[in-house]
């Protein structure tokens, strides 16, 4: 029999805020040593009260707008009770009854063209700490406690592992480009709800939930494994499927059922009396909308029209730095395709030498557009442009300054070039002879000599033409 897979996702994303959700401690990635980013509030000490970080609400709303959600104008926090050493208050502040965003829609690529995935809701919550197990005892690190998260919950709309991966990649690109989250180092974690049913039937099969996976690779493997387990169970009666929570073991590549005790809890949710309901009025919502980054879909369409390749688009939209720079440089009058090459090839090349990546790029659109314009307008050649870019990235030297100091700021007219060409010819008579006797390689040597003499200034095409004429 043929089977159809039905998958729904719950994706936790750590928000890119300066501080935690209910206290002033630094946010995601702000700390290196265990417990160096904690205060009495996020350690669960008595006397401290939660005060909501406004930025968390703005980022959650922005995420909702990007995923075409309805934004709740009235939103509340609830407490979820359970005991675990990494949860210092023994409750987590989350949203149950009035989540901040509902009813969204995101379009993804699938084997059959584009498909819409419905977003059930997005809610805000605080993260838990980390346990470090060492032999007979365990240590607790509260750095991650109260780091803000949003949980994006989809309807069971995925029909294949590929669709899930496309969705996750898109979510990652959107959130990175929108400044919502870095989506790395465990900042994006997934729970996968999965079931299979005979193709053509409507009724959902028995569902299992695979909890807390943070690498895309694991998620994909776990889904493939789980689909096969369900189909085998149905086809060969190998086991009886029960609704349960499972974990994925990266070493064995298999999923296994969690102990009942870990999953049968009644979380005794109730509204948090310490946090007043949040009202999002028109003015605030308009402010958030005005600062919302361009929707990824619009951006991708624009890039395609500009002739940027799919590969380049993928890299670009996942980097807020790159997209912002690109947009500003294009706005300054440079060609989009040309600019992409300068950013993704030249700038990244320089950054890699210094062991850095695209997101470390800190140059102004003004400087980059100046370099690109000088090159396209043939004021300097491409190599000089690259050198200027390297000086800009590595030492912060402005292009104008660099070109002046390197002696290539001359405005060249053809008489300047002609003089140099004639000088090179008279200085290198032996090479000229060789060229005339048929050694074509000698021409390159002469051209190189001219360019050295010009210190990188001048249009190579013009120099070449003049050299040919004068030989």
């Amino acid at each position: 029999m043929k089977y159809e897979t039905v998958i729904g996702l719950e994706t936790h994303v750590e928000l890119n805020t300066k501080s935690k959700i209910f206290c002033a401690c630094g946010g995601h990635g702000a700390s290196e040593e265990p417990n160096d980013c904690v205060c009495p509030a996020c350690c669960g000490m008595p006397g401290m009260l939660p005060v909501t970080n406004k930025r968390v609400i703005e980022l959650a709303v922005t995420a909702g707008l990007m995923l075409n959600c309805d934004i709740s104008r009235y939103t509340t926090f609830d407490k979820k009770n359970y005991y675990y050493p990494d949860l210092p208050c023994a409750y987590q502040i989350t949203q149950l009854n009035h989540p901040i965003c509902t009813n969204g829609l995101v379009s993804i690529k699938s084997e059959e063209g584009n498909r819409d995935i419905r977003i059930k809701q997005i809610h805000m919550e605080e993260d838990a700490g980390k346990l470090i197990h060492e032999g007979k005892y365990s240590l607790v690190d509260f750095n991650r406690t109260s780091v803000p998260l949003i949980e994006v919950v989809t309807q069971p709309d995925f029909r294949s592992p590929q669709e899930v991966m496309n969705y996750l990649n898109k979510l990652k690109s959107m959130f990175r480009s929108g400044g919502i989250s870095e989506c790395e180092n465990g900042a994006m974690r997934c729970d996968v709800n999965i079931s299979v049913r005979p193709e053509g039937t409507e009724e959902l099969g028995v569902r299992s939930e695979i909890k807390n996976m943070s690498s895309f690779e694991s998620i994909e493997k776990a889904i493939y494994y789980e689909i096969q387990r369900h189909i085998d169970a149905l086809e060969y009666d190998l086991e009886e499927l029960v609704q349960e929570t499972r974990r994925f073991d990266e070493k064995t590549g298999k999923t296994f059922a969690m102990r009942d005790k870990e999953t049968a809890a009644d979380y005794r949710y109730f509204p948090d009396p310490n946090l007043m309901p949040i009202l999002i009025d028109d003015e605030w919502l308009e402010q958030i909308m005005a600062n919302k980054p361009v929707a990824v879909d619009e951006r991708i369409d624009y890039y395609r029209e500009s002739g940027i390749s799919e590969e380049e688009i993928t890299v670009l939209i996942s980097s807020q730095t790159a997209t912002k720079l690109l947009e500003e440089v294009v706005a300054a009058g440079c060609d989009a395709r040309e600019t992409v090459k300068w950013i993704l090839i030249e700038a990244v090349g320089v950054l890699r030498k210094g062991g850095k990546g695209l997101d470390d790029l800190q140059i102004s659109a003004e400087d980059l557009s100046a370099i690109i314009k000088m090159v396209t307008e043939s004021k300097i050649n491409r190599n000089s442009g690259k050198a200027a870019l390297a000086a800009l990235i590595e030492e912060g030297i402005s292009p104008e300054e660099y070109i002046k100091s390197a002696g290539i700021d001359r405005k060249l007219d053809s008489s300047d070039i002609l003089a140099v060409v004639q000088k090179v010819i008279s200085d290198n008579q032996d090479i000229v002879e060789a060229y005339k006797s048929g050694k074509t390689k000698a021409f390159q040597a002469l051209l190189g000599a001219c360019m050295r003499e010009l210190k990188g200034a001048g249009n190579p095409g013009v120099i070449k033409e003049m050299l040919e004429k004068n030989l």
Binding site: P40, C43, G44, M45, P46, G47, M48, L49, P50, V51, T52, K79, N81, Y83, P85, P88, C89, A90, Y91, V140, D266, R268, Y269, F270, P273, N274, L275, M276
Partner: protein, 383 residues
């Protein structure tokens, strides 16, 4: 007036803050509660800390860890204020224990409008109804201290925006109050006498006194009991032996660490509150208990608001007796529940209440001045 004592549910930097519980034994606060900061800034001197019953859950403070009371019961802070050892004291009013203690000692206690005094730095239990109040020997002193501690605080999300509050205590010209007819005749003869004395004293200063009936005293008490237990259960679940305070010596795994620590650390009354609170929040009880209590809270608030359109205050007893005798902790949960029928409404709906002359007056939100004026008038008449 200079010296102010601080109850052990309110934190002073570097000082022990144990809330009368074994589970917080040895715990010292890392910071001052906002009310303590304000008391210091206003130039008062802190005379010391006063003992409280474990998490303020008992009648007046009789079940404080290691100091259970025998014989006639009293509240430590109330006794010190009454005896002149300190001029005033701050305490958290969460389930009426401070108001009862003030009545027993014949002093004044003001429980202010919810949100007017910061809760930052108190050992929180029932977040939606607890509020720091003031013990003093009279309405005027209580008003002075309350002015010093009230006003907006950014560190408390439930704090109201008003920056400061000014209170008047001069006797009201006239005024009109309501006395609730006691439907179940819970108050004893001595308490009834106190009510009569206070009524007469008010009448003598020109206050009109009407008698009215209220049919929601008992449901209001039950609703607050449910909310109070649920919130307390949740708030004190952080005392688990992992981070600070008492930790059991013997455990083989994390579950035993929790269970043994909390079994040893809490007294019987607190355990009853935890069980009751867990139960009302459980999936199959939530709708009938917790959600219904929230509805009752709304109905009671609306009904009281209507009464306050006509009356400046509602006069009621605050305890069923004028004296409490020591009793067994097994009976504590039921006893406190029963007595809370007199005290629950101000906690449930956040209105102010003042205890004076052994009785209680409840007022509309932000109408502390009316209560102070009436209490001052009543106190003058009693002298």
């Amino acid at each position: 007036m200079k010296k102010i004592a601080i109850d052990d549910t309110i934190m002073i930097k570097g000082e022990l803050a144990q809330a009368g519980s074994h589970i917080l034994e040895g715990y010292r606060s890392l910071f001052d509660a906002e009310v303590v900061t304000r008391i210091k800034n206003a130039g008062y001197e802190i005379s010391g800390k006063t003992a409280t019953g474990e998490f303020g859950l008992d009648l007046v403070g009789e079940f404080s860890y290691g100091a259970e009371q025998k014989g006639k019961l009293h509240g430590d802070a109330a006794l010190q204020v009454a005896g002149g050892e300190t001029d005033a004291a701050l305490a958290v009013d969460m389930n009426g224990s401070a108001r009862r203690a003030a009545a027993l000692s014949g002093i004044t206690f003001i429980k202010p409008t919810y949100g007017t005094v910061s809760r930052y730095g108190i050992i929180s239990c029932a977040a939606s109804g607890e509020q720091v109040g003031v013990y003093a020997r009279g309405a005027e002193e209580a008003a002075q201290v309350l002015e010093a501690i009230s006003g907006h605080d950014d560190k408390d999300g439930t704090s109201l925006p008003e920056k400061e509050y000014k209170y008047r205590t001069e006797a009201a010209a006239g005024g009109k109050i309501a006395v609730i007819r006691d439907p179940e005749d819970k108050a004893d003869e001595d308490t009834k006498m106190k009510m009569e004395d206070f009524k007469e004293s008010l009448k003598a200063s020109g206050v009109t006194v009407d008698e009215i009936e209220l049919d929601f005293l008992s449901p209001a008490a039950t609703a607050w009991q449910i909310l109070m237990c649920a919130e307390t259960c949740n708030n004190i679940s952080r005392y688990d032996g992992v981070k600070f305070g008492h930790r059991a010596d013997n455990f083989r795994n994390i579950d035993e660490l929790y269970i043994n620590t909390r079994t040893e650390g809490f007294n019987f009354l607190t355990k009853a509150v935890i069980l009751y609170g867990s139960d009302v929040l459980s999936k199959n009880r939530y709708k009938d208990c917790y959600e219904k209590s929230l509805k009752i809270r709304r109905i009671v608030a609306d009904s009281m608001a209507k009464i306050f359109e006509e009356y400046d205050a509602v006069l009621t007893p605050v305890c069923s007796k004028t004296e409490y005798e020591a009793y067994d902790i097994d009976e504590a949960f039921g006893k406190v529940f029963e007595e809370s029928e007199f005290t629950a409404i101000p906690n449930l709906i956040g209105i102010p209440a003042i205890v004076s002359g052994g009785v209680q007056m409840m007022g509309d939100k932000y109408c502390e001045s009316k209560l102070f004026s009436l209490a001052a008038a009543g106190e003058r008449g009693l002298k």
